[in-house]
Subunit: 211 residues, 2 copies
């Protein structure tokens, strides 16, 4: 049988094995970064031997590249859903909520992204300067048109978007710090609802016309 490594999986079994590996790799890469992660760790987390893992993926870098691609696609979804035809305030509110839900439900993906950014985005710089910039330019234009129409208060749409990214992703990337500071009393699962309430309030105060 032809080796599936470096090739698209053809059977259900092959696909499932690759998913197990990718899931284990996401655990390890998101916690230790690319260099800090070892194939041994990933293989153990995936419940298989190192050579067996390398039967499904030809190299450590291939696994990482695959994870990064999948993650970038997932990461841009909330911004893509941002609807120019919708109500400005509720669109922005929904965007903030979706981004915070992403931080809650996909913290590993968030950390993988953060790791890539901290290193200067060696693998993702093209996506940032290409697809992401185009998408943000588009949505920033939408926000600006809302401001011109007086539907929301004037502000900088780019830094507004940056601030939404920063505040929401903070709850995934700096989770240890958040929980350490909040302590056992407020650092439990409820912290995301508290954050949602706070952030909605923070951003809406500055956007809803007439205070």
């Amino acid at each position: 049988m032809a080796p599936p490594s470096k090739v698209r999986p053809r059977t259900r079994i092959q696909r499932e094995k690759q998913d197990v590996i990718l899931n284990a790799a996401l655990d390890v890469f998101s916690l230790h970064g690319f260099r800090g992660a070892t194939i041994d760790q990933i293989a153990e987390a995936a419940g298989m031997s190192k050579p067996n893992l390398l039967y499904y993926f030809s190299s450590k870098e291939e696994i990482h590249r695959r994870l990064l691609e999948d993650m970038l696609d997932l990461w841009l979804d909330p911004l893509r859903e941002f609807d120019a035809a919708g109500d400005p305030v509720s669109e922005l509110r929904s965007y903030i909520r979706r981004k915070l839900e992403m931080a809650r439900d996909f913290p590993r993906e968030s950390r993988l992204f953060a790791n890539e950014m901290l290193q200067g985005a060696p693998h993702a710089i093209d996506v940032l300067a290409g697809e992401l910039k185009a998408l943000v330019d588009d949505k920033a234009g939408v926000i600006e048109s809302w401001m011109r129409e007086g539907k929301i208060t004037r502000t900088d749409p780019y830094h507004l978007i940056f601030s939404i990214w920063a505040t929401t992703q903070h709850y995934a990337d700096f989770d240890v710090q958040v929980r350490a500071v909040l302590g056992p009393a407020r650092g439990g699962e409820g912290r995301f609802e508290d954050a949602a309430r706070y952030l909605e309030n923070l951003f809406m105060h500055g956007l809803v016309p007439k205070g």
Copy 2:
């Protein structure tokens, strides 16, 4: 002469050499993380051989621990300066400005901290749950008393502080993304002034009573 490694530097020369090493190490650690950094890279950046570097520091970990200690101390300074006796709005405004200046002037320290957080703060968890939590509890108490006195609008002081951290540090940690999205036109040095204007506006809108 007694080996200075593992010991406090006694001469001016020794101190200067250690500073050169620490500066080079900060470059490398902040960009590649602990595991991703190599002593070879640090030695080359410091302009000396690997064994020579290890004459001044006994191990890679010792250098990293030293950098982390110095950084944590620097990082808490703006929060320590936060003055309970000052005017609430101008104190918060100053805090935001100082934190953003830190991101601008010490981006490597910010990234070193972010790297540590992403990995679950293996070396800093005690500081987070101890000194940092105590400091934040104290300042959150100050903010709460201002709210009780009606000097600023009611909100969650902890998530307010998290949001200030997140938004300001974003400009250091995600600098590649910020510049890629803003493009050459707005991604130059002026981006920090734009961010300062935006963030001041964002946080003040929700805090100044009567909108």
